[in-house]
Amino acid sequence: MAEYTVKDKLSFLKAAAGSGRRLLAPSSKDGRVRLAEVTPDRVAFDYLNTHLSPKDAFFPQTEKMLAFHKDAAKPGAFVYQPLGLDKIQPTVVFGLRPCDARGLAVCDRVFQNDRFTDPYWKTKYEGAVKIGLACQAPGPNCFCTAVGGSPFGEDGLDVLAFTKGEGLGLKTLTPAGDEFLKGLSGLESGGAAGEMDGLKKAAESRLPGPLDLAKAQAAPVMEIYNQPHWKETADRCLNCGTCTFFCPTCHCFDIQDEENERGGVRMRNWDTCMSWLYTIHGSGHNPRPTKTERVRQRFMHKLKYIPLKQGGACGCVGCGRCVQHCPVNIDIRAVAVDMSK
């Protein structure tokens, strides 16, 4: 893999935007930083992280998947056809934080699992060159290092960039990243990797040490499931689901049909395991009838089930969004400590 430097961030972004790929990058709108399709001059650099996680670039909150028509005179009435898959553009995403890139990699292992591949995700995710921007000044709610990540983490990225004066240092991590940078003008070879190590250590030293998840990960599922602390956490939970909407690894969705007199669509919408509706059977039986089961499900999924299913990869990447936004201060770090007691 290769390393490069550029003297000027803007000219790099212009080159990236001129590569024939759509440029998605953090930019500020209404006082909030979000990942959006922007012109190079509007890309933000002074942000801790995007307000929402970047998952919506690959897994939008609402995504129309299939459509059908009801006109019996035309062929194919009442037969669903795929929607949108042919309109997905090649993209370059700049400015992913390493925690979020790692979160997307967790999602990727769900959307492309051992048996099925989700074409709506795959086309967007694999069609994007993902350039991360290392966190040289981690935020107050950041804890990537507590869950196995790093502010200079490389998981899920094609290229890792860091700020170097007015310019950038760049390290390619995959063949896709290599190929993309090779095609851009204005890059000087070398001069990044050496400096990166020092910056990485400095940034990591400002973050918390690892959480002790050893017990929670080693114990049988039912032992952690039956721990008494769930009830106490659930007591104050509102089941609002804010954590799930902001989480970069929460990937659950609902599928809904909508129709009018001419036809209809089938779409998926973000859903949340905090809702009682999520699990209720048609018969009225609800396998997770109370707040306690629902709260437990979320944390078990992040800290126990995903590691079990994904070869030890933690389902929490330490972005801190749920800690910041939970209206009742349910802190996943505290839950992790309870689970490992």
């Binding site: 709610n141 909407f245 910041q324 201060n329």
Partner: protein
């Protein structure tokens, strides 16, 4: 009251007393949060549990929202808005008066993190408070801000900062009253053409994620099944379609009309910082004007829109 430490002591003592006297099996209050600008609702069942209670300016929810169907006797360490909402729960038969013990606290208002972040751009790593100021610390710097300058919007026009008429017991000194909401901005909006009003309200919710944190945090939203969750029939689409989103907020506002105590929990819980109270404030004003009713001010008066009287005005029926 001389210091926040004294107030915290008083809260903890009152909570222990409520448990010891048998007035309550559980005391609802707050404990210190684990991150800047957070506080955790804290439910104490033992004298030791009570040692964690603190007074906080970072409460994002309304403790009365936990009352409906809560088993057993509850003591509520209540700000004015929480006391009013608790009264509302009793009036609306969601919680029995005899199981409720209100420990009122004079409240100078909650702090709006967004207002602080607008004033202080450096990353804030620690937030502490005393009675009238909040103290911020970052990498190698500290700063203080008067709470009065960074209050939540709803707290700036609070009509019940000292809930002594509702509380069974009061702690802390009286918080000086504030001028009530004059609704001047909304009256100006009301005079505008319908398209402009529509655009204003639609614009408010354009970022809504339909996470329903507002509803979950609201002490009025205790319906076992919310209309947006009903499936047979399904009244509302589940996508982020603008009209479905707008319909949710509009209908929720009507369901809350004449019941809302302006506690601001909806706005504080909203992760997209939507000014949700704009939907409620106009209705609040209407209810005050037409029925001279203030929600949560009386233990026996039902909200006007849940009652019928033969002499109700009916001039809207043409």
């Amino acid at each position: 009251m001389t210091s926040l430490a004294d107030l915290n002591q008083n809260i903890q003592t009152a909570a222990r007393r409520a448990l010891a006297d048998g007035r309550a099996e559980v005391v609802f209050g707050y404990r210190q949060g684990t991150a800047p600008f957070t506080a955790a609702p804290h439910f104490a069942r033992t004298p030791e549990d009570c040692g964690q209670f603190v007074w906080t300016s970072f409460a994002r929810v309304n403790l009365a929202a936990y009352l409906p169907k809560y088993p057993g006797k509850v003591a509520l360490i209540a700000r004015g808005c929480e006391a009013r909402s608790a009264v509302g729960q009793v009036v609306e038969s969601q919680f029995p008066r005899e199981n409720l013990y209100v420990i009122g606290v004079g409240c100078q208002g909650m702090v709006d993190p967004e207002a602080v972040l607008a004033r202080e751009k450096r990353p804030i790593r620690e937030v502490t408070e005393d009675l009238t100021t909040i103290n911020l610390a970052g990498d190698g710097w500290t700063a203080s801000l008067p709470k009065a300058e960074v209050l939540r919007r709803n707290c700036k026009t609070c009509v019940c900062r000292t809930p002594k008429d509702l509380a069974d017991e009061m702690l802390g000194g009286d918080a000086p009253p504030l001028p009530a909401d004059d609704f001047a901005d909304l009256k100006a909006l009301a005079a505008k053409p319908p398209q402009e009003k529509m655009a204003y309200f639609k614009g408010l919710v354009k970022d809504c994620l339909r996470c329903y944190a507002c509803r979950q945090a609201c002490p009025l939203c205790y319906c076992p099944v919310c209309f947006v969750d009903e499936t047979r029939p399904q009244w509302l689409g589940k996508s982020n379609d603008a009209m479905d989103t707008f319909t949710f907020h509009l209908l929720r506002a009507f369901h809350c009309a004449g019941r809302c105590t302006s506690c601001g929990a909806c706005e504080a819980a909203c992760p997209m910082d939507i000014k949700l109270r704009e939907f409620n404030r106009l209705l609040e004003e209407e209810v005050q004007k037409d029925w001279q009713f203030v929600p949560g001010a009386s233990w026996d008066q039902k909200p006007p829109l849940t009652t019928y009287r033969p002499d109700d005005e009916a001039d809207f029926i043409k």
